[in-house]
Symmetry: C2
Subunit: 383 residues, 2 copies
């Protein structure tokens, strides 16, 4: 899915409770309220850190997804990856969340590798993009998704099965609408102009409602889908939106594979992780020990704290304690960072081990040989 | 290939020698001069009625095609059909000319069935378009093309082999350029916006120069190809341009399948042909016999004469004699029409017989089982 670097929602905007609210108003989405959280918990028989900490905080039609699921109609998941470099922590989080949803709700997951869109919008050659796709897919395979209920496909490889659908969908979207949603102009190449149709196809893979987990800035990209879905006899795609994960260097930047020193990469070793966090993670604490003890830290901009709270520290009591102590000056930045380093390395060592041991085999299954993959290769997608 | 009904070259403009010249100036193409005609004749070891009567009258880089062919580099042919109805005489003429070129120059011919473009620009359902495609391909198969050197493919079916090429080409064309060439605007659907890339792919099927036989109004559609071909390391496509075939009802209209009474359809029987020609063919002759004998006919608007001259009456002496007598009032419209009816029915009965007897078998060969088709299905098109 395309990342528009100039999109005017920056991570900064979404720091602090007030701004989340503004963002929801701006996009016209809905907050995941307590009642809905409870419904997810009830149906999943489990809570998830991303939900309880409001890292996933906004949605469209998630209530309908849960209703339809309760009624036995089910739903399915769709997400994507744009292969333009090695993956960092921020890239893989939605896949771990998708895994949880897949496990708890027993649903299929479709993962579109947008090797066409990356070519249209980037500078990479097709070979470079193919190499990144290969690496990215191995990382996704390592997440532990169900190999018989997950289908990972590269657009350029799977287009033979999808082109009829692309032809049908693209007739429903004119240049004016596509420009409005994706910010095209007259110098946009005609491949990219066609892309909204391709991005939309997987939302119609099953005769159920599609749920898309993604950061909230992706919301606009599904407007066209929601405009035409019912006309084509299908469900509007539902979405569950996350906040942004701030870059190591602070909430003003997004993590980016093009600045690997400012991001935790999935293949970083424990030493690299320690060095990056200790040396580069933006701190909300005070400059001197004395000042910190007097004034305490600003949690809303402290990367180590934010990462722990949103993503890694499951224990409610412990994160509350850290937050209290750190903001009141009873904990130092170095101590909080130490906890993050430990959590990150625990997470990465499991991920890397699975990638090393089973990545190749799982990739083959999810792309070609698993039950869902086999079914999808035998199918012509009809809309 | 799309037909733009509003294109401001009407058949009327191309009646009469002066206007052909204007047209060539307008498009910036070149007349097929005597020297070039001779070169074709020399290399083909035969003349062709369409060339000697200037029905094919204009070109781009045809001189290079002939040079490269002489040097042993060869070339290949590419043409297309938009399946939006049953075919009439005007539709099949370029295929008969392609057959002659294929026979004489021993070259491959690629025929793109634009079932995607017809969906994007027309009102037909995919099923309707598929039915027309089926019928059209049977007619093309009946032309007698070499089944081992001809590949007929439906875009929607063959896209799996072409998508990489489409992705690469489409990056080179922006919306502004595509709009300039194809007349797109902001309400054009994004499928059609992508189409110029698809139309261009076959010009890169071989590492030789591609020659496209088509009516002159199609020239603009190849501008983008000629702009980017060399940048992509390929040849600019060459073209050989025909005049328009006037509708039965006169040079102001193009023949159209949507007005089958005003066109000679490929499945018309002899009675229908006679009736249409006798009753509907626009005459350049005078209203009464007496007037005709005094003033003679205006050959430039007489449909029967124009069809005979451009397409059907091979005998130079005879067409000259008819032209002279008819324009001087020594022949009546009915007599000229009678000759056309005879020629048309001779042509159609051969065509229909081949279609009936061998259409299905030849279609299978040219689409899937012939030498070239098999090779093309085994290939991923790389640019």
């Amino acid at each position: 899915m395309p990342e528009d670097e100039n999109f005017d929602v920056t991570p900064w905007d979404v720091e602090g409770n007030v701004d989340y609210k503004k963002l929801i108003e701006k996009f016209g989405t809905e907050r995941i309220a307590q009642g809905l959280k409870k419904e997810i918990r009830d149906q999943a028989n489990e809570d998830h850190i991303y939900l309880k900490r409001d890292y996933f905080f906004s949605h469209r039609d998630l209530d309908k997804v849960l209703e339809e699921n309760k009624d036995g109609d089910g739903f399915f998941l769709y997400t994507g990856v744009g292969p333009s470099g090695p993956m960092h922590i921020g890239h893989i989080v939605p896949f771990y969340f998708s895994k949880w949803l897949q496990d708890k709700f027993d649903v299929n997951l479709y993962i579109q590798v947008t090797d066409d869109e990356r070519y249209w919008t980037g500078d990479g050659t097709m070979d470079e993009i193919d190499d990144y796709a290969e690496q990215n897919i191995m990382d996704i395979a390592a997440v532990g998704l169900d190999p018989d209920k997950t289908f990972i496909f590269r657009n350029r490889e799977y287009m033979g099965n999808m082109y009829d659908a692309a032809v049908k969908i693209s007739k429903q979207i004119n240049f004016s609408v596509a420009s409005g949603v994706f910010g095209f102009n007259s110098s946009t190449n005609i491949g990219m102009v066609f892309y909204p149709a391709i991005q939309m196809i997987p939302t119609f893979f099953e005769e159920k409602r599609c749920l898309i987990p993604a950061a909230i800035d992706q919301d606009t990209y599904w407007r066209a889908q929601r405009d035409i879905a019912e006309k084509l006899g299908h469900y509007k795609a539902a979405q569950i939106h996350s906040k942004f994960i701030p870059a190591l260097t602070g909430p003003k930047g997004k993590m980016s594979s093009s600045k690997p020193k400012d991001a935790i990469m999935l293949d970083d070793n424990p030493e690299e992780v320690r060095e990056k966090v200790m040396q580069r993670a933006y701190s909300g604490g005070q400059v001197t020990r004395k000042e910190q003890e007097e004034k305490g830290a600003d949690l809303s901009v402290d990367v180590a704290y934010q990462w722990l709270k949103n993503l890694f520290l499951e224990d409610d009591g412990r994160i509350e304690e850290i937050g209290r102590k750190y903001s009141e000056g009873d904990m130092l930045t170095g101590e909080v960072k130490e906890i993050l380093v430990e959590k990150l390395n625990e997470f990465l060592s499991k991920h890397q081990k699975r990638k090393e041991e089973k990545g190749k085999e799982l990739k083959e299954k999810m792309m070609y040989e698993g039950n869902l993959a086999k079914k999808m290769w035998d199918r012509e997608i009809k809309i």
